[in-house]
């Protein structure tokens, strides 16, 4: 080999040596099942979206939220404001005594974990009414400690905008009617139901802000809070007590527990409106507990401070119908899917283990209280939970992990249909 040949060979080899560099690669999420639509997913909402369960919320319950399940199924980046254990507040461990995880109190808050999040995917705040989605400073808004912990001084809208979303779900409005149902002083208080006009104005402003980002979206209908197990119709109590209703055997209520005839169905007692009266479990079970302990109790469905009256019931139902008509119209106007969770709620109530008998006092061999009559069986010696079936947690309002998976699949179905995506279902 001549010198020149050697030199030429070396020069030719030089470019080849450039290949010695080892490029590393980006590690983007796999969004192939949604064509990248969920690159920046943001969920707006309230306690259900946030992952509230059993009157509490922590990192464990947050990860069970339908929004988390949906993002997981889609392979979407999902960043939530993780709340330290045991929670803020900690969830119930025993709802009849209101004992909470880790011995925490109702006012206790373990604050938020200091995670460095690129953006916030779940901006939902427990307790948020529709107006709280828009602003924290309006006199009508009602920020709580979680508003700060989740949003850090922002509103849900501004947090959503900061995330530069590509896809947004909005499930707001539940608390605009739920607050009336859960009032401790007057269940069903009409003053606590947001007017349809006010709801529409607020909701439209929120939707306009979502549309302005250019993101795709899906809008959830407001849940019909009158069918959740937090309350039970007066009829159920009357039938369980009397055992005279077809298909509803006697519930084994203690003799010291009386149910007034004004709780009966109109078909059984003329003039009674038990079908249109709701009894919060916090009222009914408390009375049952006291009766089981030997203190005579009467459930009187004419006492407004204890039950949701027929007029209040109608007000709540009308609000839900009015809200949802507007939400559906907004969805249609933007060509976004409208996701209705109410069939899921109805199905949950119909599950055999519940059979429409919230609370499930009738299907228990023993009432879950120490000293309660137990039909000759062993009386429980420690407090137990009143359960609300597979799909509702220990507060009777918020979905369980199982229910969140069903809700996620409901959302997935709507999104796949509307956008032609192929996000796999979470399944049971």
């Amino acid at each position: 080999m001549t010198y020149r040949t050697l030199a030429a060979s070396l020069l030719v080899a030089l470019p080849l040596m450039a290949g010695c560099r080892q490029d590393e690669r980006l590690a983007p999420p796999d969004l192939s099942n949604n064509s990248g639509m969920l690159a920046h997913y943001v969920a707006m909402g309230n306690s259900i979206t946030a992952g509230f369960q059993s009157a509490g919320i922590n990192d464990s319950t947050q990860r069970q939220s339908y929004a988390a399940v949906f993002a997981r199924q889609a392979g979407a980046p999902y960043f939530y404001p993780s709340l330290n254990m045991p929670g803020c507040p900690a969830p119930f461990t025993v709802n009849t005594t209101q004992a909470r995880l880790g011995g925490a109190t109702a006012g206790g808050c373990a604050l938020r974990a200091p995670n460095q999040l690129p953006f916030l995917s779940n901006v939902a705040v427990p307790g948020a009414h529709a107006i709280d989605g828009l602003t924290n400073t309006d006199p009508a808004s009602g920020p709580n400690i979680l508003t700060s912990l989740v949003l850090g001084g922002r509103s849900q809208v501004t947090a959503m905008q900061a995330a530069q979303p590509t896809f947004v779900t909005v499930w707001l409005g539940n608390n605009d009617v739920l607050g009336a149902l859960t009032s401790s002083t007057n269940p069903g208080d009409p003053a606590l139901v947001t007017s349809i006009a006010a709801f529409q104005a607020t909701y439209k402003a929120i939707i306009d802000s979502v549309a302005a980002t250019g993101a795709s979206a899906a809008l959830f209908a407001v849940a019909d809070v009158t069918v959740i197990p937090y309350s039970t119709s007066g009829t159920i109590y009357w039938c369980l007590k009397t055992g005279v209703c077809p298909g509803v055997p006697a519930g084994g209520f203690p003799p010291t527990f009386t149910v007034s005839n004004n709780c009966a169905p109109g078909a059984a007692v003329p003039g009674a409106k038990g079908d249109s009266i709701l009894v919060p479990w916090t009222v009914g079970v408390t009375k049952l507990s006291a009766a089981a302990a030997g203190s005579p109790q009467t459930l009187d469905c004419s006492i407004d401070a204890q039950v949701v009256t027929p007029l209040e019931y109608k007000t709540m139902r009308d609000a839900v119908v009015g809200y949802n008509a507007f939400i559906a119209a907004q969805a249609a106007a933007h060509s976004w899917p409208y996701v209705d969770p109410n069939p899921t709620l109805a199905a949950a109530k119909a599950e055999p283990a519940v059979a429409g008998q919230y609370p499930k006092v009738a299907v228990f061999p023993c009432l879950p209280f120490p000293g309660a009559p137990c039909g000759g069986k062993t009386t429980p010696t420690s407090p137990a939970n009143v359960l609300f079936g597979t799909y509702f947690s220990l507060d009777g309002v918020h979905p369980t992990a199982e229910a969140h998976r069903v809700l996620a699949d409901t959302l997935i179905s709507a999104v796949n249909r509307a956008y032609g995506t192929s996000i796999p279902f979470a399944g049971p």
């Binding site: 030199a7 590393e24 200091p114 460095q116 953006f119 400690i145 508003t147 700060s148």
Partner: protein
């Protein structure tokens, strides 16, 4: 109500302090100290160019000078880089800029040509990198600058007809600047450990700006040897010692940036624990005392030190024909000296950050061909590994393995005046790194959140005068 007492942790100030970026060699080294050698991709330890730059490339080389040499030159470095976030897909590019690196050499033969004296001024370490001030990595640093100017008086002597030995002292003058934003969520809001993040303040909330600057000096030495063991083949070696540069007069200028955040009523800062109720809290008002008289975030002095690593270069040159020469160099740089940064602030106390740099090795290949008695063409290639470990690839120094091609031309304008020009392209391997610390005192690769890309264009010119 919680007692809010902001305890600012400028850990990242220490993290970024004194660190240059966009350097054109390993770590924050710069190897382009003359257009002639640059045209051969830095190969020169065994056969330096006759423009005085051997003061840097091999001090022994000046012994070969037969006339006085004076050269002045410079290299313009145009770094181009970007960071792309894995999850957001957001790509942020370095600010486009061109940075000059000067060099100046003078060589004078003495003793009838058996020895020579010289002095050189060059910048073997440094550079500047600037990201947009809204870059996601701005809390680690959005602008940093280092200028390490070496002044090296040198002496060399011939050892017989086939060898020479040279040495010099290096006096370094180093100036540094770092600008970074202060991030609120990681700061202590309520002692001993509750941070603003615990209270809901989102990561990325900036509340202050820091401009840290200072200067210092150091001393080191540089030795080289050049041997021709067989005809037409020369071997060379040089060793540039490490330096410890103390920067005792650093100044941190700190200013508040308004967040505009108002925590809504019933927030965890002001709420009555019993009722959960309390007023809204403007965060800026909460922070203002920290920036006021006596606060920890007022302008203050500080000190630190910077280690400039030693270099060992071995090379060979082969005069293939009277017109053609091939060269090869091996370079070792002990970047392990850059294992941590320690910064002491008058008010903020001591901050320590682990860098854990590694030893780095490079290989250079070059050649030149005399196309006419007056003109020589040059070309070369080099490659080297990364000095930064995977866990410390940050905006401050997104360094990685590199490959580079160079080409140059030298021509005699007159008998006494030579001009050399060169171009070099540097391609760095795309490298995973981070823009955050993950809230960890010693971040791991698990915190890496994206990809740094980098390349650079360099042009250089040297005017050499012999007399």
């Amino acid at each position: 109500m919680r007692t809010v007492s902001v305890r600012v942790a400028l850990g990242l100030l220490a993290a970024s302090a004194m660190v240059p970026r966009a350097a054109s060699a390993q770590g924050y080294g710069i190897y382009e100290q003359g257009a002639c050698v640059m045209g051969r991709a830095g190969t020169g330890v065994a056969s330096p160019c006759a423009d005085g730059s051997s003061i840097f490339f091999n001090p022994a080389g000046i012994a070969l000078a037969d006339r006085q040499q004076f050269s002045v030159g410079g290299t313009l470095i145009a770094p181009r880089g970007a960071f792309t976030n894995d999850l957001t897909g957001q790509r942020t590019a370095l600010k486009n800029a061109v940075y000059p690196v000067p060099n100046l050499y003078y060589v004078r033969p003495i003793g009838g040509g058996r020895a020579a004296l010289g002095i050189g001024l060059f910048a073997p370490y440094g550079l500047t990198t600037e990201w947009p001030d809204n870059f996601e990595g701005r809390f680690l640093g959005y602008k940093s600058k280092i200028q390490a100017i070496y002044i090296q008086p040198t002496a060399a002597v011939k050892l017989g007809r086939r060898a020479s030995l040279g040495a010099g002292f290096d006096f370094s003058l180093v100036s540094v600047q770092l600008r970074q934003r202060l991030e609120l969520s990681s700061q202590i809001a309520s002692p001993p450990s509750i941070t603003f993040a615990n209270l809901g303040i989102p990561y990325g909330t900036e509340f202050g700006d820091v401009n840290l600057h200072g200067h210092g000096s150091g001393v080191g030495y540089h030795v080289g040897i050049e041997v021709e063991p067989i005809r037409r083949v020369t071997l060379g070696a040089r060793y540039l010692s490490r330096q410890l540069v103390k920067i005792n007069n650093a100044t941190a200028e700190i200013s508040q940036i308004m967040t505009g955040i108002i925590l809504p009523p019933n927030n965890p800062v002001a709420a009555n624990p019993a009722t959960g109720l309390g007023p809204a809290v403007p965060v800026d008002g909460l922070l203002a005392p920290q920036f006021g008289t006596g606060g920890p975030l007022t302008n203050q002095a500080g000190s630190t030190y910077l280690r400039l690593p030693e270099q060992l270069v071995l090379g060979v040159a082969w005069q293939v024909t009277p017109k053609a020469k091939l060269l090869g160099d091996f370079q070792y740089t002990n970047w392990t000296v850059f294992n941590q940064l320690v910064l002491d602030f008058d008010l903020l106390g001591r901050r320590v950050l682990q860098e854990n740099y590694r030893k780095a090795y490079g290989f250079r290949f070059g050649g030149e061909y005399m196309v006419s008695p007056a003109t020589t063409l040059r070309a070369g290639y080099y490659t080297h590994g990364a000095a930064a470990p995977p866990e410390t690839v940050t905006p401050n120094l997104p360094e990685g393995a590199r490959a580079s091609f160079a080409a140059g031309l030298g021509t005699h304008l007159t008998r006494n005046v030579t001009v050399d020009v060169a171009y070099q392209y540097i391609a760095q391997a795309d490298r995973r790194g981070r823009t955050v610390d993950g809230g960890l005192a010693t971040p791991t690769v698990a915190v890496n959140n994206g990809l740094y890309t980098f390349h650079a264009h360099l042009i250089s010119a040297t005017f050499a005068f012999a007399f």
